[in-house]
């Protein structure tokens, strides 16, 4: 009778051991499947900044003391409409004129351009190699290109 009870106890013990082992097996198996999850690092970004006219100004004009606040551009005849303006020509033959509002930076581009600076002087000009000296009036040449 006693040995039968012992056998029953042993079986019950084995049964619980088996249950714990089965649960452990399930846990470890799941760990093995999920342990290798990896999320790759990703970098992405956007940057925005307003562009001031002076950021487009040639360095020669900036270092020459003119900081422009607006831009006027075109082909043919281009005349400034405000003081401290960046006056931009084209690849053709242009005539760039300061309309006496104040000091400007004039950039002619390619072509045999003409420059008409402020009467009292002080405008700065970037002229092309094709521009002849007589066509540069009252304007200080700060660079030659192209």
């Amino acid at each position: 009778m006693r040995s039968r009870r012992d056998r029953t106890r042993r079986r019950t013990g084995l049964f619980w051991l088996l249950l714990v082992a089965a649960a452990g097996f399930g846990f470890v198996t799941t760990q093995a499947f999920t342990a290798s999850n990896a999320v790759p690092a990703t970098n992405i970004g956007q940057f925005t900044q307003a562009i001031a006219p002076s950021q487009l100004e040639p360095a020669e004009c900036l270092s020459g003391g003119i900081t422009v606040t607006s831009i006027v551009a075109g082909a043919g005849t281009i005349t400034s409409t405000a003081a401290g303006q960046l006056v931009l020509g084209s690849s053709g033959v242009d005539t760039l004129t300061d309309n006496s509002f104040g000091l400007d930076c004039m950039v002619g581009g390619a072509g045999a351009d003409s420059f008409n600076g402020l009467n009292k002087g002080g405008d700065l000009c970037v002229v092309s190699a094709a521009t002849t000296v007589p066509n540069i009036k009252k304007c200080t040449v700060v660079a030659t290109r192209p």
Binding site: V39, T42, I44, Q46, F47, I51, L56
Partner: protein, 121 residues
């Protein structure tokens, strides 16, 4: 000795319970630190400095290129545009020194009023 059906069912239930416990234990996966940003300089994941624009030498009405320094320098794809709703231009990143040719299509200097740069690894 054949196992009783109840015993088998309990063993299977134990396996399932263990698996469920394993799932719960691993639900808090660690995600590596990433950079993300949008919209403005303040929240950008990348730092853009030393921005410089170059006018077209022959036709200064147009902007020929924009150049800047990007950090982290590992940005693989960088694109830029010079005004809202303008064209996007592909850029070249050489160890953090980025140049973007803006010649095709041309960007008039009078239109270039807002630089937007997008970058990703």
């Amino acid at each position: 000795m054949r196992p009783r059906p109840l015993t088998l069912a309990l063993v299977v239930l134990a396996v399932l319970a263990g698996a469920l416990l394993g799932r719960v234990a691993t639900a808090a996966n660690t995600v590596p630190t990433g950079l993300v940003g949008q919209g403005s300089q303040a929240t950008s994941a990348y730092s853009i400095t030393g921005i410089g624009y170059t006018l077209d030498v022959n036709n200064p009405q147009d902007v020929a290129q924009v150049a800047f320094t990007i950090s982290p320098s590992s940005a693989r794809v960088v694109k830029a545009r010079l005004y809202n709703a303008g064209s996007w231009y592909a850029c070249t990143n050489s160890a953090g020194s980025v140049t973007c040719a803006t010649t095709s299509p041309a960007v008039p200097a009078t239109s270039a009023n807002n630089l937007t740069v997008v970058a990703t690894q």
